[in-house]
């Protein structure tokens, strides 16, 4: 088995650590600039479909993924661009996917709601609210049975905790004491329906008590706080201590999707949350700590801006996903082995599921 890289200890990390601070800030800027570019391309009619932007929620994805080691896995949501970036995906194939290019992560077959870099340990974004939670729990069971030492993080929103999938998966994670961290990004609304109306408990975190594992609520706009809480939860999972429900309190600045007219919340509320900008807050902490200079911060902003610009520019030039190639053999896109197994002439496909990384782990045992 491959040794998993040690995740940094919480005590070493934070605004005062220049390397950590720079990396966390860069990830948050990458997410923000990526989402802004998507918003802009859509507004200009250059992007198709719909998308769910995570502007304002960058600290949650960043803080949680910073607590993971190489080989750990995530499952994501319809609002998943940030998770994907924080888990190390390349911006170019992400943007190419959104722009319907063959070089996109999903070759134009998935789009915004299914972007994932599988090789980086992303089990997939998900268009079904709560759909990824049982999958993450199953992956955690596989990690436990295979003895990989890996931890699985499942992101989902507040709305998902009213789905049966959440409750069934939480129960399975608990009875089998699986190495999974359930991260609820509570942005106050399931589309338009507020948590005050959709739940009769005060917090999502307290729902963990029903399943017998810890539930922790944290300021989801404070990347250091998210990181510290996630580090503790990941350590518990990795050491056999079972699941944790981590509720990160955050807010999406943009509407739920492109159809949102913001009829269910006030301008004042949005402004109040925008004042609690996770990126600006972290920059202030960095400058307070003196770990990075104003020029350093500017360099981070420039780098993120340039990476996103480059991804847009190169994606625009890439070949479109080609319907002729697709239609030549649609079954080849639908199935790994379209002809069925053991039929003469069918190419052999190893039934190994996700992940060259995982299989490499298996083989090196």
């Amino acid at each position: 088995m491959t040794e998993l890289a040690e995740a940094p200890a919480a005590s070493d990390a934070g605004a005062a650590d220049p390397r950590w601070a720079r990396e966390a800030l860069l990830t948050m800027y990458r997410i923000r600039r990526f989402e802004e570019a998507v918003d802009d391309l859509f507004a200009r009619g250059m992007m198709h479909g719909t998308m769910h932007l995570s502007i304002g929620q960058e600290a949650s994805a960043t803080g949680v993924c910073a607590a993971l080691a190489e080989g750990d896995l995530i499952a994501s949501t319809h609002r998943g661009h940030g998770h994907c970036i924080a888990k190390g995906a390349d911006l170019l194939p992400m943007m190419a996917e959104l722009l319907a290019k063959d070089s996109g992560y999903c070759r134009g077959r998935g789009g915004s709601m299914h972007i994932a870099d599988v090789a980086k340990g992303n089990l997939g974004a998900n268009g079904i609210v709560g759909g990824g939670i049982p999958i993450a729990v199953g992956s955690a069971l596989a990690q436990k049975l295979r003895g990989t030492g890996a931890v699985v993080v499942c992101f989902f929103g507040d709305g998902a905790t009213n789905e049966g999938a959440f409750h069934e998966a939480a129960n399975l994670a608990a009875i089998w004491q699986l190495p999974v961290v359930l991260v609820c990004e509570n942005n106050k609304y399931g589309m338009s329906f507020s948590t005050e109306k959709s739940m009769h408990v005060a917090t999502v975190a307290e729902r963990a008590a029903a399943y017998g594992f810890p539930g922790v609520r944290v300021d989801g706009n404070d990347v250091e706080a998210v990181f510290a809480a996630a580090t503790e939860a990941v350590a518990r999972a990795r050491s056999g201590g079972g699941p944790t429900l981590l509720e990160t309190m955050t807010y999406r600045w943009k509407g739920h999707s492109k159809s949102d007219k913001n009829l269910y919340r006030t301008r004042e509320e949005i402004e109040q949350w925008r004042a609690d900008d996770p990126i600006a807050d972290f920059e202030a902490k960095i400058l307070d700590a003196g770990s990075l200079s104003v020029e350093d911060l500017e360099a981070v902003r420039t780098q993120a801006r340039d990476e996103v610009r480059d991804a847009v520019r190169r994606s625009m030039q890439a070949p479109d996903a080609d319907p002729r190639a697709f239609l030549a053999d649609p079954a080849a896109a639908v199935f790994a082995a379209p002809l069925g197994s053991h039929v003469a002439g069918a190419p052999a496909v190893e039934p190994h599921g996700l992940g060259t990384a995982l299989d490499a782990t298996e083989e090196s045992k």
Binding site: G131, P134, L141, A169, A336, H352, G355
Partner: protein, 358 residues
């Protein structure tokens, strides 16, 4: 893979016990012996688990209890509770866990006690398992096996007796098999476990106690190949699941009356073996399509459409005839239950009528 000789748990039923006439040759040949359908399923799982430690079974009461229909039997004792895993009553959670395990290096077999209960897990089957390979542009696949018994005939009424195969076959990304005899129950399941895609294996409750010759070795029955267990000259019956044995019994009775019928066992609904099925229909020019599921938008509607869209249409001597379950839920009372699903007498009558048309 090294073949493992499986012992049938010392419970092999006498060859005659529960044997459905004509479902398969009654006599075992070299390398075979007669065991029940449920023993054959268990043997497939046992051999696959012995050969590959990635294979795991999970489901409600599959452990010490041995499965609601006794299918998993002694597997828990042989392989332990980690690999033969009892779960809570939590179909959505179990199937979702199976998807996650399949994505993470294991080869899970999920048993759902009654195929009706897949309704509780439909998101994971239809929106997740079936689509992940496609939506991720081929970057991952889901080698999940979902086993579930369907069908009526046990007095279990409307929520424990359905034949839902058309739902699964209608979903791109799922392979769907319906083994009609013990040998196929073993061979198709072994192929399903090998398969890199999600495979829904619809077993039949009435078939579990039927017996037939089954290879001792782990012999695969290919997914994607129909079988023609009987060849005749006057008409071709195309059937799935328990209807295959009913058609074979009907064909044997018709033979005495001078009507010679072919019987095609579809075996694999997806991928569908059009070549074998349509070829067998071409040979007689008369098609009797028999399913237990309701007629409206059922799988045999698809077979009828395939005939109509192909050259086979020109070879027909009579209009295609479907013989299906009624478009009702399955009732409880035994006489009502039998009345809504094709019985051997119904097949005989429909075949006689079809054989003289045209």
């Amino acid at each position: 893979m090294t073949a493992t000789v499986e012992h049938s748990n010392g419970t092999a039923a006498p060859a005659a016990f529960g044997y459905v006439a004509g479902s398969a040759p009654a006599d075992a040949t070299a390398g075979e012996r007669v065991i029940t359908y449920s023993e054959a399923v268990r043997e497939a799982m046992g051999q696959a688990m012995a050969a590959d430690d990635r294979v795991v079974l999970l489901g409600e009461d599959v452990g010490v209890y041995g499965g609601a229909f006794g299918v998993s039997g002694d597997l828990h004792g042989r392989f332990g509770g980690e690999r033969v895993r009892d779960t809570p009553i939590s179909e959505l959670g179990i199937v979702g866990a199976g998807v996650g395990m399949a994505l993470s290096g294991l080869l899970p077999i999920v048993e759902i006690q009654f195929s009706d209960f897949t309704c509780q897990a439909m998101d994971q089957i239809v929106n997740q398992a079936a689509k992940i390979h496609f939506m991720l542009g081929g970057a991952a696949h889901v080698p999940l096996v979902l086993r579930a018994p369907g069908g009526s005939g046990t007095g279990a009424a409307g929520q424990h007796s359905q034949s839902l195969e058309a739902w699964f076959a209608h979903t791109p990304g799922l392979k769907v098999v319906m083994p009609s005899n013990a040998a196929d129950a073993k061979g198709l399941l072994l192929s399903a476990i090998d398969d890199p895609d999600p495979v829904v294996v619809l077993e039949h409750k009435l078939l579990y106690k039927t017996s037939g010759p089954v290879p001792v070795e782990p012999v695969r029955v290919p997914i994607g190949k129909a079988a023609v267990p009987r060849r005749g000259t006057d008409l071709t019956m195309v059937a799935t699941g328990v209807m295959v044995s009913r058609c074979l019994e009907a064909a044997a009775r018709l033979e005495a009356d001078g009507v010679s019928a072919s019987v095609v066992d579809v075996r694999t609904l997806t991928p569908f073996d059009a070549e074998t099925v349509l070829g067998a229909i071409d040979e007689t020019g008369r098609a009797l399509l028999v399913q237990e599921a309701p007629r409206h938008v059922g799988f045999m509607s698809e077979v009828a459409a395939r005939i109509a869209e192909s050259e086979s249409l020109y070879r027909l001597l009579a209009p295609v005839k479907r013989l299906c379950g009624l478009d009702t839920p399955i009732p409880y009372a035994p006489q009502l239950e039998r009345s809504v699903v094709p019985q051997v007498d119904d097949v005989v009558a429909a075949a006689r009528a079809l054989a003289v048309v045209g």
